[in-house]
Symmetry: C2
Subunit: 264 residues, 2 copies
């Protein structure tokens, strides 16, 4: 009798349910949700997807054609109603060729950047002349920068991301700065970690700084052999101190965590 | 022995699992998903929410301050760099007061509406004078219309939704048209259904038309007593024919559906 009871318990343990989603059978240990919660979650997912579609349509509506697209379209440039040009001021550096101006609308620049706003609304030189000179930047980066102000889109590579982050910091275009940072974090690896850390420090990119610092302090044993490390000690030892401080604080935290886990 | 087996089967039927989401117990009949599918779905939900946050930030970036906000801000109107005004041409109708012009940027109008684009790029009267007259519209509707072109937002009531839909149709601003239609569908009821149907017909609002027609054909028995119906027969009998055709087609479909369900 006892044996039989035991059998029946075993049977009940083996009872399987069928998953609505993957259609596989599952037992008690792999239980997920009840039907009601599953249906609720499915509805939520549908709602979120609808919201995404609506937001995408809104972005498509609000997204400006860029005056750069316009340059290549059939309509004449005068039809883009631009009232200012931006010039990469070191583009024609020493050469006989004048830098190519990038046309734009004051209204767009002013709405995207508080720096352009102050510049253009306060009757400064740039507002009077209708020309904004931007130094230390390539023509391609300037084009991408202006294009981003109209479209919130850029086709980044690592070099362009650096250049645009610098511009975004300078003209306080937060959305672009975080866009570039996200890209650079996604490209972060051991080889570029020290350079990225120094770059992030210089340009006040907190998100990138934290990610680089975390990668570096996870590999401290390999750090001191690196050329970039030796160079950084030479050029900016305070940054190296920051790395060691972060490492130390991580060790202390890990120890405290272990300690609290070992307590009964 | 047989009885015992039976008992054990009953037991296994009564085996309960605990839902990860609501923490209630559930049996075989209420089975939702397995743990793996639940975890996958939760991840998907998190991803969708992140995407929504990103899109919202993009909308906030692309959203223009409207020149209307600007009018009320501390900065002088000349700082909004507007280059065109819109005027509700029947606003000062017969009165001594000139209509209040709504300032805007040609670049914004052109990017949001193919009609404005054709008007302003082709050196028409409006482009030369810098004034666009818009007839049969109140000043408030015009303000909301221009504001929408900058922000993709409007605070609608039923009257404003009608006026904006008419403007959106006239200037081919699809995003606004569908925004108004959605609002009007949400406000659709038996009392306004015939009017909404006629309005949707006149302004080519397919989504609203279908919704109104469906509501009307669901209540055909009450239709012919309505004043709006009698008026519509008088004014535009072809629309009434359309209602009857939709009703007939619905009946035929329902019959065919019942028929196919009754087949063995």
């Amino acid at each position: 009798m006892q044996v039989l009871r035991c059998e029946s318990t075993q049977m009940s343990d083996r009872v399987m349910m069928r998953c609505i989603s993957c259609r596989d059978e599952y037992g008690t240990r792999d239980a997920g949700t009840c039907k009601e919660c599953y249906e609720e979650a499915s509805e939520t997912e549908e709602e979120l997807k609808r919201e995404i579609e609506e937001l995408k349509a809104k972005v498509a509506f609000l997204r400006f054609w860029s005056p750069l697209d316009h340059q290549h379209s059939r309509s004449s440039p005068s039809h883009s109603f631009t009232d200012v040009v931006l010039v990469a001021s070191d583009d024609g550096f020493g050469g006989p060729v004048a830098p190519v101006p990038v046309p734009a609308h004051k209204a767009v620049l002013v709405s995207r950047s508080p720096v352009f706003k102050a510049m253009l609304e306060n009757e400064m030189e740039e507002s009077r002349s209708g020309t904004i000179k931007i130094s230390d930047i390539t023509y391609d980066a300037l084009r991408s920068f202006v294009n981003y102000l109209y479209t919130a889109e850029a086709c980044l590579d690592e070099q362009l991301a650096c250049e645009l982050l610098v511009l975004a910091e300078k003209y306080q275009v937060k959305h672009l700065k975080s866009y570039c940072e996200k890209f650079m974090v996604s490209k972060l690896n051991w080889d570029n970690s020290v350079m990225s850390f120094a770059f992030a420090h210089q340009h006040n990119a907190k998100h990138l700084l934290d990610a680089a610092l975390s990668l570096i302090t996870d590999n401290m044993d390999k750090l001191t052999k690196r050329d970039e490390y030796i160079e950084l000690v030479e050029k900016d030892p305070r940054l190296v101190v920051e790395i060691y401080e972060a490492y130390l604080s991580k060790q202390v935290n890990t120890a405290a965590h272990k300690d609290s886990n070992m307590k009964p």
